[in-house]
């Protein structure tokens, strides 16, 4: 075997190994959580209130809380993000200002999530007096996922062929009609993919809701948008750090982690299916 072939073999082996290690890590994490969590997950676990100081019962309030928080986040971030993306790609004059805005959006994506939490505390909880509530937490999560949605939407908008816009304008459509009737329907799958990825991210975040929405233990389900709530990620944190019965709490924490993991993976799966369907569609 000559030197060239040997180098190729070594190179490929290293690359193959890298991929394999990543898959292995993923597999270990998922199976670790699954093996430890599966014991406590059953129908009752999903549909019952926690009992006896979180040492028994289910995690229904946390599941519902995460659902409400995510819903609130997406209701806030989707129109805002898609609107901003449309403005940036379709209307705004491409120049220094738009470039600065893009850099800003990208930097927003790099801000640590706990900073968003602090911002939410100052802006929504204190300044706007929402208190620790679903609304405050949802808005904070909304800001967190805004860059994801803007970037995905911009990408989707740019993938709409210019020839569609030209055809529409040449028929006497205004720019707005063109965007609404041709561009948006064509880019919808891409926008939805971004939105769903955002939902997955929002569902799993702990730090932004730490000060803005989450409560550690609550006897009742949240009854309004201004009430505080339990949430899955924070529930795990609470079970692992508080309480006096770790031998019962830790399995429940793993069960909660499993539910959260399945939820997020499920959401991402929907995004992947949507994206593939959009790709398959020919123009």
């Amino acid at each position: 075997m000559n030197g060239r072939r040997l180098k190729e073999l070594v190179g490929f082996t290293i690359l193959r190994l890298a991929t394999f290690i990543i898959l292995l890590v993923l597999f270990v994490i998922i199976s670790f959580i699954a093996v430890r969590g599966i014991k406590v997950v059953n129908w009752g676990f999903l549909t019952e209130m926690p009992r006896a100081g979180m040492t028994a019962g289910g995690i229904l309030p946390a599941i519902l809380g995460t659902f409400y928080l995510t819903l609130c986040a997406i209701c806030f971030a989707l129109p805002l993000g898609v609107g901003a993306a449309i403005y940036l790609t379709e209307y705004a004059k491409q120049g220094i200002l738009v470039r600065i805005i893009r850099v800003g959006v990208n930097n927003l994506a790099g801000v640590p999530s706990v900073v968003f939490g602090l911002f939410g505390l100052a802006a929504f909880v204190k300044f706007l007096r929402f208190g620790v509530s679903i609304l405050a937490g949802g808005l904070t999560l909304g800001i967190l996922i805004l860059p994801i949605i803007i970037r995905a939407s911009e990408e989707a908008l740019r993938s709409v062929p210019q020839s569609f816009r030209e055809a529409s304008l040449a028929l006497g459509a205004t720019k707005w009609q063109t965007i609404r009737k041709v561009v948006i329907p064509s880019c919808l799958p891409g926008v939805l993919t971004g939105a769903i990825l955002g939902v997955g991210r929002a569902a799993g975040e702990t730090a932004p809701i730490l000060f803005t929405a989450a409560t550690f233990y609550k006897m009742s389900l949240p009854h309004s948008i201004l009430s505080e709530t339990q949430a899955l990620p924070y529930h795990i944190y609470a079970l692992m750090t508080e309480g006096t019965h770790p031998e019962v709490q830790v399995p429940i924490a793993y069960g909660t982690a499993l539910v959260l993991l399945i939820l997020v993976l499920g959401i991402d799966l929907v995004a992947i299916i949507l994206r593939n369907r959009a790709r398959r569609r020919k123009w």
């Binding site: 030209e166 529409s168 040449a170 028929l171 006497g172 041709v182």
Partner: protein, 303 residues
């Protein structure tokens, strides 16, 4: 290298027969000048072909006639294009929401103009041009077939719906049917109007694009190399169609194919490197061109 000298057009039409009149048109992309001082008249209900080697500015030229160059940020247009005697490029203009405003304060223009209906005015200093309306009057068929990813019916109905030009659903159907018939596509698609337009063949898609353009009742139809992606049979159909359309519409067609220009056009403009080399009746251009360059090009010595 052949030296090009701009010559004034050699034929003069009677004014009443002129649909579009282009005067001293200059177009730049940033610093590169794509069209250099072109002047010519396009006659009503005739087919005018624009020929020339690749990159000579043919597409840029016809896209100027319905202001499609506006959507290219780097493009800059100078000169006049008169549509029925009204300049669609008023000078020193300010653009607000597609309405190019002249000298009156812009708010007066907004409040004293109606958004729909006849509004291309040009009486000396007071004019405003609705670009959207210009594009409605001057339709365009593109080189790459570009039906919307909608049904066949929706494609043709699109222009009617956005222009709100028909009130009743029955009228909408009638206009769609008429447009498809005008584009010689009706018999092939009448049983599957709800199918996706993307299932049609290339030639059918291009005729659908023509039907879509005709549906809004334009006065001028611009064809930007409509057959360059089509096979000979589809090309023949489109050529025949263009011949039939000239009773109703004024047609400008850009083409690479000189036989095509000779077959279907009444007038022919030869562009080279952004300059109008020769403009004359088609039979004259193809039998007795007055310039050596034109002769070299049409006999295939370059380009």
């Amino acid at each position: 290298m052949v030296r090009l000298v701009h010559s004034p057009q050699s034929i003069v039409h009677r004014e009443s027969e002129i649909k579009v009149s282009i005067r001293n048109l200059n177009i730049w992309y940033r610093d590169k000048q794509a069209i250099k001082n072109v002047s010519l008249d396009i006659k009503k209900n005739k087919v005018t072909a624009v020929i020339g080697p690749s990159g000579c500015g043919k597409s840029t030229f016809i896209r100027a006639i319905n202001r499609m160059n506006d959507i290219i940020p780097e493009a800059r247009v100078e000169g006049k294009i008169l549509l029925d005697g009204k300049n669609i490029y008023p000078p020193r203009n300010k653009k607000v929401n597609n309405i190019v405003l002249g000298d009156k304060p812009w708010y007066k223009k907004i409040f004293f103009s109606r958004r729909r209906g006849e509004k291309i005015l040009n009486e000396d200093n007071k004019y405003y041009i609705d670009v959207v309306e210009v594009r409605r009057k001057v339709g365009m068929v593109f080189q790459r077939t570009n039906p919307f990813p909608k049904s066949i019916f929706e494609n043709v109905a699109y222009g009617l719906k956005i222009n709100k030009s028909v009130k009743k659903k029955s009228q909408l159907w009638a206009r769609v049917e008429q447009s498809l018939k005008d584009a010689a596509l009706w018999d092939e698609v009448k049983d599957r109007l709800n199918h996706s337009a993307l299932d049609l063949s290339g030639g059918q898609q291009q005729r659908l694009c023509i039907a879509r353009a005709l549906a809004v009742e334009p006065e001028v139809v611009l064809f930007d190399e409509p057959c360059s992606a089509l096979d000979p049979v589809a090309t023949a159909k489109i050529e025949e169609l263009i011949q039939n359309l000239k009773d109703k519409y004024t047609i400008v067609i850009v083409t690479h194919n000189m036989q095509q220009a000779a077959r279907i056009s009444d007038f022919c403009a030869f562009l080279m490197m952004g300059e109008l080399v020769e403009f004359d009746r088609t039979e004259k251009i193809f039998t007795a061109p007055s310039k050596k360059v034109t002769e070299d090009y049409i006999t295939g010595r370059f380009g």
